[in-house]
């Protein structure tokens, strides 16, 4: 069996440093396995959040060699083990301890998004009819596991700390799922333009790149939302037509 070195961030709100650990690695191991092994062998107080070990709960998000990843889905065989592997907590949210961050901001920000508002029922029995092909489009967005890796990599949050002005890619995906839903009647474009800060996104697609669920965040959620905001806020001809119609 081979030995590999891991540099794991140890610290809390006061600061911290990398702890260097060596452990044996074997075929089929993922980063989370190595972290657990280190925790069992010599760092019993190492804080790490995880749950499913199957890429479905979104708890084990961290930065492995500088890239936001789910630790349970990152195979050691895909990493160069001849150099120490760096593991640090996600950068866009405040640290609690070691690899665990406080991501509760995401849930608070989500509450700002107007909820699903279906049109009046289509049938007398209070049910609706919708075409499968209309609802197909939003299915992609429902794959989200709320790992917040996209929020972590987004420079608007990570580098500019604009959490007050910008809800981030995950919540744009959520807004898109509501906004494009064939039954929904709510208009969220005003919020997108102002409070949600869609204009801060500069379409660099880092969110799409890191999404473990392969959601085409930028192309299928954010850009279509930006286009809807253009319709209501920036397109002079549309604005004129609306004015003339008394809208």
């Amino acid at each position: 069996m081979a030995t590999a070195t891991f540099k794991i961030w140890r610290g809390d709100t006061e600061g911290g440093e990398y702890g260097e650990y060596q452990t044996e690695v074997s075929e089929g191991m993922v980063v989370l396995d190595a972290v657990h092994q280190i925790q069992a062998e010599r760092a019993h107080d190492l804080a790490v959040r995880w749950n499913c070990k199957a890429g479905k709960c979104g708890s084990c998000s961290a930065e492995v060699n500088g890239m936001p990843k789910l630790m349970c889905m990152t195979r050691l065989s895909d990493i160069n083990l001849n150099e120490p592997v760096t593991i640090q907590p996600v950068k866009a949210f405040p640290i609690i301890r070691d690899l665990v961050c406080d991501v509760s901001w995401n849930f608070r920000a989500k509450k700002k998004i107007k909820p699903f508002k279906p049109r009046e029922a289509d049938a007398a029995d209070g049910t609706w009819r919708m075409a499968q092909e209309d609802v197909d489009r939003v299915q992609e967005f429902r794959k989200c596991i709320e790992c917040f890796l996209c929020q972590d990599v987004c420079h608007v949050l990570r580098d500019h700390d604009l959490h007050e002005q910008f809800i981030g890619p995950r919540l744009f995906v959520y807004t898109a799922a509501l906004e494009m839903h064939p039954l929904d009647e709510e208009d969220r474009t005003g919020d997108l333009a102002a409070e949600f800060g869609v204009g801060y996104c500069n379409i660099t697609k880092c969110c799409t790149k890191v999404c473990p669920e392969d959601i085409t965040i930028t192309d299928n959620a954010i850009i279509p939302l930006k286009e809807r905001v253009v319709d209501t806020h920036y397109d002079p001809i549309r604005m004129l037509v609306r004015k003339l119609r008394g809208g």
Partner: protein, 268 residues
């Protein structure tokens, strides 16, 4: 420290724990875009060697005024054009595709990274503290991309016509136009094809043809159009790169043939 919501610690410019060669992608983008900007500006300002036989450089099409048989108006330049000002028929063409590409969603993301390091690449520290995104002037104007789409669509039709014209060669003895195929005909046809694939995969077009609707199934024609545009949009980045390089090469091909440096081989 930043003064944002969580007072997160800012990483310095270029600081990252990434191990891969993250700088290659923005560097290549920077190099290719810069080369294109320099070449197209130079080529557009020449005002000569832009046509050869039935071929017309895409930087000069439509040739509203000009010296070639392709011109639309029978004059070398507009009468009102100030005598002291440099003239080239490309001045009436180039601003439109440039505006279209500059405001294209794909290019925006790419040049914000490569030219403005905003960010230099994913999860790599930025040089500047402040950030306004596309919320303030001038970047707020990016929202008008759809207005450049209209001339861009017209240009595809014109370039497709040019590709057709590039199949008809004038017989030097009889003066009659005869069907033929030169390497240049293929170069021009490929140019129209690539620009078509790029333009018809535009995000704004995708929105306008159907994406703006929540119940597209009620408008079957718009649903089909949305699907077609989405199909091209899937590979928008590739179309953007290939069409960019090829449109530059098409001008170069026509130019070098017109200058007598390259020979245009006739296949038929």
């Amino acid at each position: 420290m930043s003064n944002g919501a969580f007072a997160l610690k800012r990483a310095g410019f270029g600081v990252t724990a990434r191990r891969d060669a993250w700088w290659i992608q923005p560097l290549v983008t920077f190099a290719v875009f810069s080369a294109f900007i320099v070449y197209s500006t130079w080529a557009g300002m020449q005002g000569e060697y832009y046509h050869f036989g039935p071929y017309l450089s895409p930087f000069y099409s439509p040739e509203l005024f000009g010296e070639s048989p392709h011109r639309w108006i029978d004059a070398v330049k507009p009468t009102w054009w100030p005598a002291w000002m440099l003239w080239s028929p490309a001045f009436f063409v180039v601003p439109f595709p440039i505006g279209f590409r500059l405001t294209c969603y794909y290019y925006r993301g790419a040049y914000y990274k490569a030219f403005w390091a905003d960010p230099p690449n994913c999860a790599v520290g930025e040089p500047r503290k402040g950030y306004l995104g596309e919320n303030a002037f001038p970047l707020i104007l990016q929202n008008l991309h759809r207005y450049f789409l209209i001339p861009a669509l017209a240009l595809i039709a014109i370039l497709a016509y040019d590709a057709w014209v590039a199949l008809w060669f004038k017989n030097a003895t009889t003066g009659v136009y005869e069907f033929g195929l030169g390497v240049g005909s293929i170069v021009l046809a490929l140019n129209a094809f690539l620009l078509g694939g790029y333009t018809l995969g535009c995000h704004s077009l995708r929105h306008l043809v159907g994406g703006g609707l929540d119940r597209m199934s009620e408008s079957p024609a718009r649903m089909v159009s949305w699907r077609c545009v989405s199909c091209l949009n899937n590979r928008h980045m590739r179309w953007a790169w290939f069409s960019l390089v090829w449109v530059g090469f098409t001008d170069l091909y026509v130019r070098l043939c017109a200058m007598g440096i390259w020979t245009d081989w006739r296949i038929i």
